[in-house]
Symmetry: C2
Subunit: 240 residues, 2 copies
């Protein structure tokens, strides 16, 4: 099947996927590009696959071909790619032993990068506060480089989530207070809390942290980028 | 002095600073926001300071006030800030002992973040290949969070730069080849080479590397974000 008309009803539906409310109401999102579509395919979450006409497809699922103009219309990117897949949101797993909690991260690139690093450094779950940037924002998905499908990501009221945990040590991050992560003995069940890019961890969440850790650095530099700080901490935990 | 007309000649000149060629020809760039303007002020590189009318200024230099519309016109940001400073590009210093070389980094956020981390982890110099994204791109400057003024950043032909070095160990980064950075003895004079986001280090540069190092991670994840990888490596070197 080939769609070439911008007025096609399915095209109109696909365009709506750019809107968070529509994604939430339908429990769907979309990914763009071959690499990430392949990851989605391997994870068996593709609902519909749209491919630029003239492209050879090596995935064993029904394909709808679309014209360049249709792809341009449904795409969120400046230069379109050949693959566009509508995906089912993933079910939730058990939280496991190593959890990273993101309190109000606002930059889509930071969120995607942290999810990517969380897979690299063997964290079991990423928990997002409700005011964190939307997980299914196309820029977030691009920054995860397909790793979204390999991670258990939950959206929660963080205060409630932390207060209901049992047996975990909750680490807050702070530029200078607490212990140097290098010298900290890390228990097997931990929660790492990363705060907002500008303001850090909110006060009500700080109260729920058991300990604070920091990354040693030159005092000329006030702080690290949030995704860099989160990644270094996860790297250290993974190497303990 | 207050400028309110969008047709003012200085406003027309300032708008040209958004263009790389104009910045290069005049050896100038601009920064936006109080925090970064303050860093530029402390570093004594501000040529002209423009401030939104009605704002109190605590810097001891001549100020030109501008209307909201003028600030909107000269700004590169979606929501304008109160401070806009035209700055002189910084002179070059000696390269020091710890150098990070960026081979064709394309994402402005990655470049800015690496410069920020390079100050945090006591690197002396950042060297950019000529095809790296423009250092004075406003998005790069924003991502450095003012740390651009605390770092010696050079733009060079990387092959020539590396081949002329003497007494430095040049480390290439590779996802899986070479030694784990955790187990590597790092000499005092080193160069760390970081490759392009998608393609890694180019082949001609690889040939000039003495050794390769990698960051240990879960094999499900093919690679880390370039600024995360660079930051973890600099963090490790700084902690040796």
């Amino acid at each position: 099947m080939l769609i070439t008309s911008l007025n096609n009803d399915r095209v109109k539906e696909l365009v709506k996927l750019k809107d968070k409310k529509y994604r939430d109401n339908n429990n769907l999102f979309f990914v763009e590009g071959y690499d990430i579509a392949l990851e989605a395919y391997k994870n068996n979450i593709i609902k519909e696959l749209y491919v630029l006409e003239g492209t050879d497809v090596n995935m064993d699922i029904p394909v709808t071909y679309v014209s360049y103009d249709v792809m341009k219309k449904i795409s969120d990117m400046e230069s379109i790619s050949e693959y566009y897949a509508v995906c089912y949101k993933r079910d939730e797993n058990n939280i496991g032993n190593r959890i990273i909690v993101l309190d109000n991260i606002q930059d889509p690139g930071n969120l995607g990068t942290i999810i990517r690093s969380s897979v690299a450094f063997n964290f079991d779950t990423v928990v997002l506060s409700k005011n964190t940037v939307d997980l299914y924002n196309p820029k977030v998905i691009r920054s995860t480089k397909g790793m979204l499908f390999n991670q258990n990501v939950l959206i929660r009221d963080i205060e409630l989530f932390l207060s209901e945990l049992d047996g975990y040590t909750v680490y807050g991050t702070d530029v200078s207070n607490g212990n140097n992560i290098k010298e900290e003995d890390i228990p097997s069940k931990i929660v790492l809390v990363i705060g907002n890019e500008g303001r850090g961890i909110s006060d009500n969440i700080k109260k729920l942290c058991d300990k604070f850790i920091y990354i040693s650095m030159n005092s000329e530099c006030e702080s690290l980028n949030a995704s860099v700080a989160a990644s270094i901490l996860m790297y250290e935990v993974n190497n303990k």
